[in-house]
Symmetry: D2
């Protein structure tokens, strides 16, 4: 083995949690220590720990038993951007650049490089830190599978599995009661979970952000099923689905404030209109955070493990400013600037959408 480019690294997890984060951490720590003799420091609660110097050494014994566990042993948060950090003075909240603290803490721990496991937001910060001189390696994380620089992200398969199991459960109730069941799943900008789970779960209608829907088409589909004596229907709606010509109906997701009266996410909106137009009892289930939780699937554990090992390799070889990714069957890497910004949305003329249509699934258009 050649001499590794660095001897000591940091790692943090940022953004919403995803099944497989622990598997990445475990693989990174074990590979760094065993294969490259690189020691690892874990920062807690995303960029917050990097700013406030909340950190601890991660040894092999710290990562024992975490492979099958959801969540992240490091903690995570959607807040605490070091370039846009909130400061409250009296009644006023302003945002300041506290990135010097990041470099200070990096220095305190004698860290030479940083592995950042996160989504679009975290990786944008990663890129900015890299531009300012920090040796950074990124690992892509998004439940929604909407990063264009990698073929698949860990956590997605688990979320898809949870959504598909929910559809299996809703099927029996829908059939028994001759109802329309609406399942609202994650996917604010990309409809992957809705499309995949809808096909896998045998949905009749799938609504995704990429294809604005016409409610009349949806209603027509359900009525057509009734005429064929199929008295129930299953609709899967990505949270970011939107009506044709209309605004996206966004459920209130404001991170630091709670919305008491849920203003009806897209699932509620669709259900209301379908019930009014068809006269059929319609029920909504919003999967929400269940999609982020639980033990990762075998696939996600494997992919996460490969990402962790891949990140360790990039670090050891001194290939900074890059993000590990999956290309076909292989682990590869791309520059961080390619990793962010461009969304991986469902191709509306692609094979998957065509397969759905051929099966008779209504896409709302």
């Amino acid at each position: 083995m050649v001499k590794p480019a660095v001897r000591r690294i940091g790692v943090l997890t940022g953004g919403g949690d995803a099944p497989g984060l622990n598997a990445v951490i475990r693989s990174l720590v074990k590979t760094a220590i065993r294969e490259y003799d690189i020691s690892v420091v874990g920062f807690e609660n995303g960029f917050g720990g990097l700013i406030k110097n909340q950190a601890r050494e991660l040894t092999e014994s710290d990562v024992v038993g975490i492979l099958p566990r959801g969540g992240t042993i490091l903690g995570t948060t959607n807040r605490d951007n070091p370039f846009h950090y909130p400061v409250i003075k009296g009644d006023q909240k302003t945002f300041v650049d506290v990135s010097d603290r990041v470099f200070e803490n990096i220095s305190i721990h004698e860290i030479e490089a940083l592995v950042i496991i996160g989504g679009d937001g975290s990786l944008s910060i990663a890129k900015e830190l890299y531009d300012r001189g920090l040796k950074v390696v990124g690992v892509p994380k998004t439940i929604d599978n909407d990063l264009s620089a990698t073929d698949q992200t860990f956590g997605f398969d688990t979320a898809l599995t949870t959504a598909t199991e929910a559809l299996d459960k809703l099927h029996t109730t829908a059939e028994s009661h001759h109802r329309v069941m609406v399942l609202e799943v994650m996917g604010r900008y990309a409809g992957w979970i809705a499309l995949y789970s809808g096909i896998s779960g045998g949905a009749d209608v799938i609504l995704i952000p990429e294809i604005p829907y016409n409610i009349d088409v949806v209603v027509e589909k359900i009525n057509a099923r009734s005429k064929e004596r199929k008295k129930f229907s299953i609709i899967v709606a990505a949270e970011g689905a939107k009506p044709l010509g209309g605004e996206m109906v966004v459920k209130q997701h404001v991170e630091n404030s709670f919305d008491p009266v849920r203003l009806g996410g897209i699932g509620d909106v669709v259900a209301k209109e379908v019930e009014a137009a068809t006269g059929k009892e319609t029920r909504v289930t919003v999967l929400g955070h269940l999609q982020r939780g639980g033990s990762p699937t075998a696939f996600d554990r494997l992919l996460a493990t490969r990402y962790g090992a891949g990140a360790a390799k990039l670090v050891a070889e001194g290939k900074f400013g890059r993000m590990v990714c999956l290309k076909g069957q292989n682990i590869d890497s791309v520059p961080l600037e390619q990793a962010v910004g461009k969304l991986n949305t469902v191709p509306v003329d692609g094979e998957l959408v065509r397969v759905a249509r051929q099966l008779g699934i209504c896409l709302g258009d």
Copy 2:
């Protein structure tokens, strides 16, 4: 074997569906035919099929493969009470007694007795039909486990399992994000699902209809955990939980109309108050119909199978006006009048509540 009291029976499933309905039907049909040489007619969609004469013969081959399947092959509905049947004339809806049609259809199919699988509502109708001379046997069904005449109802264990699995999933996200997660589960009048799943899923707070909660106590519990450096908390709230001195906050459940703006179920209300008082990010998951769906657990399949066989036995022995039930380890039966009306709620001074308190779980009081 002695001569069975009847040679031909009907069966229907009423009310909301519950995992295990198919197992009851299968067991009833197989046992009636094989053991007692009694033939079986299935009425579709609850009492609706009994009124409109939607029925079909059920043979052994009709029930092949349905044991592990959720839902009911007969269909079901919450509507269509033959003693209070809606008739729409012009703009007006009135309710009439159409029970004579029930007797007519029973006669058309040459049925001598009827097995009614349902909850409090369906069993009340069963009792009324029995009082008017129909030979009736009841089978208890309620997800909520709130029937006092039986130790346990099928479907409850499956709902409990679904709720517990959801808690397992929410745990990882709560831990990773230092959040408060609220899970709203079924239980409008009885807190069994909330209490059992809360203990099984390691909840910190459990709110049930039987114990009005003081939000200050809940907030205090969460703050106390923070001081012990347990930065997340899990709250399970039965949908029928209510604040001390306050009104029950009922989510709009009106069966035939859809409520566009979900007016915040109890989960939302609790979350809002907790977030405001603790400053911690709080998220709500409403399990809803997922609790009614899916393949029944081994326990529920077994209990449902025993109920089906027990109902066949009652019919064969001519013991009408009774409902099968579980007493300790044994299948038994009680008069229908005992079966309805009295709710099985959680004893607030019972062992289960005491165990919860001793573990440090906050009950909100």
Copy 3:
């Protein structure tokens, strides 16, 4: 609260592991500390740790997160009976009484009472220790549900669930291939897992130790199914099932030696004979240790939690020489001498067996 009878106790887990052991430990530790101000010492690896003084203090933080986890954090073993402890001198193994070491270690840790979580073997040692003056409380543990002094043991529902899921999986292959599938499940002396999972999983033949089987009857059943054009059959066999008039065919289970050539457990024997007699392809699956593993079901977590709290209560109230148990819906206790020795076997004329027969399931007789 009255003054507890003791201020410091020990706990150990003995015998084969069962899902729910950790839930018992957690509940015992939390309840003892919080409710009764009793401290707890955990002995490792069953009676071995009690003899060799391998022990550690158990605090509330030691039991965080273990509720949903299978196995036991204390470790366990089937060996190390203090009254019959193996000593190897040269080539010879002799057995000696080392129980004085037990009392010595109890004294070293200033323990006043001992909670022993185990099956028939461990509880027999518990009774002997009690007879010699140690304050002992027992908690029943057996996957097989074969203890007569309690209505149900934790771990059983999880094992049953694993067996039923296996039957669901085997069904699809059996159907597709027109095969006979044999599933061998646990149950050396009692057929509970086989009988319950066989009914829940829709088996065609169930063989249990309590009903010696006639292979001709089994073959006849399978041939009868073929004539009805049901071309596959599912057989569940408890490992202790035995042919009529024959010896029990015991798979080599010698605990401290491995048997290289598996001499065919009962599953293999039945399969061989069925294949020879029917000409149908027959396949065997031996579930083995999968039945002991995994996260406990909601039911088992709850029962185990109640047992742990019940044991803490017995200890605090000074009720020694007793074992917690479930009677109907209630946690109760019985003297240790009632707890051991008498096996809880399946009543061959009971309701469960009758239900199975009425469904057309062949019991081999």
Copy 4:
């Protein structure tokens, strides 16, 4: 839409069953009928039904509800090669070519093309039929993922999931008892299931056919773990794993005869040697047919659905003699001659094996 190349096709499933077969059939039937106006005839029990003319029309209503179900509604068998069909005369079994019956039955049903869903064996027959003039399209099916012409086969992800769940369960018992647990999984020639599940399930040793193992290396690994105070170990062995310089130890798999005394598969052999050399209790679990059963995972349902649609498209476009396959993210096709013969084995110097080694997993070499 252009005119489809044919108006009526047949379909059969051959070889061992795999989760997802029903999803392929459903997708093929729905797409053929809805999209291309092609009718479909299903042959039963693999090539047997093609030879004996056991067939039925498949309409859309025949495939309702089968998406989540394991097995195949058409039945399947490993026997009945039309070019090598067994005929028994007196005591003698000879093999004859009965392929003319295939062409006759194809003609009787007015079928213009045949879709064959199967593994290496079935696809070889498919190729031979194609060479003799039958219009054939193949769909790859192998649990083992060992077909080189496609990146992945359906059923593999489900088998992997079952194996990983088994490892999760065995972990708790291994830890509790300080045991060595051996899990024998499928993979006679290729170690994909063992390697993937071993990484995903946190195994310590993985033995695959591609890397002959040295038992001393395995023993050394387990002893080294003991020295680090990790007192248990998990070994995953593919059924086709073999010792260095030794013969493959094949469990008796002779399809039409049952082996009464299981002669110890590789799992038993490894366990015996490990127990003898380390003195640690060692237990074996053979997953067997559980890996073929159960509801397909979301991934497998999706892949199978895409294959079914892809096969319908090939047929409609008149592209015969080809097999659908997955290349990267896309559904593609290859000539049948590429599809058979070349095995997809684990690259011994590939990334996956390297990742395993870096994590400290012993590959036995």
